[in-house]
């Protein structure tokens, strides 16, 4: 299987892009914006202002390109590494940061944003997307669901059950696998003996598509097609986007223990932002000032998000039992009272 490619690594075109110039510029701006966030979050973690953080640098095209194919009311269920995609679908940077600061309120996007809080467990969440899409179909709505996951996640039993349910019940869901070559320290070649992840779709009677995940046009085109299929009632699609995480698994990880500098350097040559920039420049659609403007705007927006997130006071211990049920149960109320007594707050 050859991955679908529209933009060559040097920025020349292999095929007609799926979007016009303005939209291409918008995609570029979004990718740059996301990278600013990612670097800021990484820096904050080093300063001890975030708990662990899972950087996505290198995967911007896979996330932004795919999310750009969605309608604003489509459901999204993604992971700890998919902040860029979630933000594209309406999740706020400040809420993403809050989660990383270690505050449950980060799991609560603005009302109406159809994006679930990031999944920390690997695998289980794909089934949630199946249920969401299925529910819409049962109601006769044409909203679809998309779920993001990594190469490692394809080993979990829940991946299998999600793919199977989606295909058996013709659920409108797109499975977007970012094969970033590693699951923590494990290369994808030790995760599965199949040549590609895309080919796993056939086991479920579902189309599987392999795309160059650092080619934002290819990702967008493939996702748009899958979304259209789903919306038309033709069922699920598995997309494997080949990409690479430039940084560590999380800020607690040292990739030097398991991968070579050469490999990382080779992938850096395929950087998704550089690639689109080269294309835009060749088209006369890019100049340095414009990019600087995006960077400045992004920095300001993200600083503001950081400020809002960090300004939020820790909730009062009284609230500790409030999240579990619509109304705290009798045992929880007793436990809360005992806690407040112990804290001298009752």
């Amino acid at each position: 299987m050859q991955p679908l490619q529209i933009l060559h690594p040097d920025g020349t075109l292999a095929a007609a892009p799926p979007v016009g110039r303005d939209e291409a510029r918008r995609l570029f701006a979004a990718m740059v914006h996301a990278r600013v966030y990612d670097r800021k979050a990484t820096a904050m973690q080093k300063q001890g202002r975030l708990a662990t953080y899972a950087p996505f640098e290198g995967q911007e095209a896979a996330q932004i390109g795919s999310a750009a194919a969605l309608r604003p009311d489509d459901w999204m269920v993604a992971t700890y590494r998919d902040a860029a995609a979630m933000w594209m679908q309406g999740y706020l940077w400040e809420d993403l940061l809050l989660g990383r600061i270690g505050d449950e309120r980060g799991g609560s996007p603005p009302e109406g944003v159809p994006v679930l809080p990031p999944s920390i467990t690997v695998g289980a969440h794909m089934l949630h997307a199946v249920g969401l899409g299925w529910a819409e179909r049962l109601r006769g709505e044409d909203r679809i669901a998309i779920t993001y996951f990594g190469d490692g996640a394809t080993s979990e039993g829940d991946f299998h059950e999600a793919m199977n349910f989606a295909a058996v019940f013709t659920v409108p869901v797109v499975f977007l696998c970012q094969n970033n070559q590693y699951a923590i320290s494990m290369p994808v070649s030790r995760q599965t003996a199949s040549a590609t992840i895309a080919q796993k779709a056939d086991a479920y009677g579902m189309p599987g598509v392999l795309v160059d995940g650092n080619d934002v046009f290819a990702v967008l085109a493939a996702t748009a097609e899958a979304v259209a299929r789903a919306r038309a009632g033709e069922g699920p699609t598995l997309i494997e986007a080949l990409t690479y995480r430039t940084g560590p698994h999380t800020t607690a990880d040292d990739p030097g223990r398991y991968r070579s500098g050469d490999e990382a350097a080779a992938w850096r040559e395929r950087d998704p932002i550089d690639r689109l920039r080269a294309h835009l420049r060749a088209e006369g659609a890019w100049d340095e000032a414009w990019e600087q403007g995006i960077l400045d705007e992004a920095a300001a927006a993200i600083e503001a998000a950081v400020a809002r997130a960090e300004a939020l006071e820790v909730w009062h211990p009284r609230e500790i039992v409030d999240g579990m049920y619509a109304e705290p149960t009798a045992p929880l109320l007793r436990q809360r009272d005992a806690l407040l007594r112990d804290l001298g707050e009752s």
Partner: protein, 320 residues
């Protein structure tokens, strides 16, 4: 009891088209115990869904449906087959509300047969409700007969949070009881004093209620007045009703057919010790299953508590 549950499902599906059923063999055959009989005919294949054999898949997909605003009612064929779905339940079903601070919720029901008494194959006699009571964010109701089964299930379907509803296998066909025709609710988290008494409190639920009532009759013959409480939900547990009773009787027997260590009898006994210590005239007696696998048919009776063991335990509290 199977019929009462079937009636509850009919009423819920008729009243609210957000209610959908999912499970293995629930549609075409109406389930292994025929609990869902006739529902697919009545409400169609889209709302009564025969699923592939994949419990995590069933629960995980139903969870997504619930988040999207449906009211899925999942059947797992036997309690022993809920374990492949345990991760979905503990990590997601019970957590989405807290994880999103109420932005997303999962109002769904997971119901299944549980417990011994019919000499079933391995894995078909589990009674591990303690596991689910120990799982934050879900509620756990246990039916003790047709009326309670119907009322708990309807309450569970209406509840804004996920509820597990357990149905004693051996009662599906064994108990006949008047059940109100209309949609009746048995509130979650409220125990019922099923038989008042003054000498000893017997706390039970589910399959053990009937055994406890039988024990109470035996005890009455021996001049001991037993108060029998049906917990009805083990999470949240209505400790107030239990404590009030023990404060009056001064003696308690707690009964559950699940394993002993860290089981429900431990929790109830601990609560009594915590809140009614000074009323106790004798140690709380725990009558429970053993810390063994439930034996197969030929030796099952040694495992599952019965009226005789409950009565004997009560008698011991009287002697202390």
């Amino acid at each position: 009891m199977a019929q009462a549950i079937n009636q509850a499902l009919h009423q819920a599906m008729g009243a609210d088209d957000r209610v959908v059923l999912l499970g293995e063999d629930v549609g075409r055959t109406g389930g292994v115990f025929r609990v869902t009989d006739g529902l697919q005919e009545a409400y169609g294949e889209a709302r009564v869904v025969d699923t592939p054999v994949a419990e995590s898949g069933i629960v995980g997909a139903a969870f997504g449906m619930a988040v999207a605003g449906l009211r899925p009612v999942v059947e797992i064929q036997f309690m022993g087959f809920t374990y492949p779905a345990y991760d979905q339940i503990v990590s997601h079903v019970g957590r989405i509300r807290n994880r999103s601070r109420h932005r997303f919720t999962a109002p769904m029901v997971i119901r299944f047969p549980y417990g011994g008494g019919i000499g079933a194959a391995e894995h078909h006699s589990e009674s591990t409700e303690a596991l689910y009571a120990h799982t934050p964010g879900v509620k756990v109701a246990v039916a003790s007969g047709p009326r309670v089964a119907k009322g708990l299930l309807l309450a569970a379907i209406e509840d804004p949070d996920p509820v597990i509803v357990m149905e004693p296998i051996r009662l599906y066909r064994a108990i006949r009881e008047e059940v109100p025709d209309g949609p009746t609710i048995v509130p979650l988290g409220v125990a019922e004093v099923v038989r008042p008494g003054s000498d000893v409190t017997v706390v039970a639920y589910g399959s053990m209620l009937r055994e406890s009532l039988r024990a109470a009759e035996v005890l009455e013959g021996a001049g001991v007045s037993a108060e029998v409480i049906d917990l009805r939900t083990v999470s949240p547990l209505d400790a107030d009703t239990v404590i009030a009773s023990v404060e009056r009787t001064g003696r308690a027997v707690v009964v559950a057919e699940g394993h002993r260590t860290a089981g429900m009898t431990a929790e109830i006994a601990a609560l009594i010790g915590e809140r009614a210590l000074y009323s106790l005239l004798a140690p709380v007696e725990r009558v429970s299953g053993l810390d063994t696998v439930v034996p197969l048919k030929r030796a099952e009776q040694y495992y599952v508590p019965d009226a005789a063991r409950i009565a004997a335990a009560a008698a011991r509290t009287m002697e202390a």
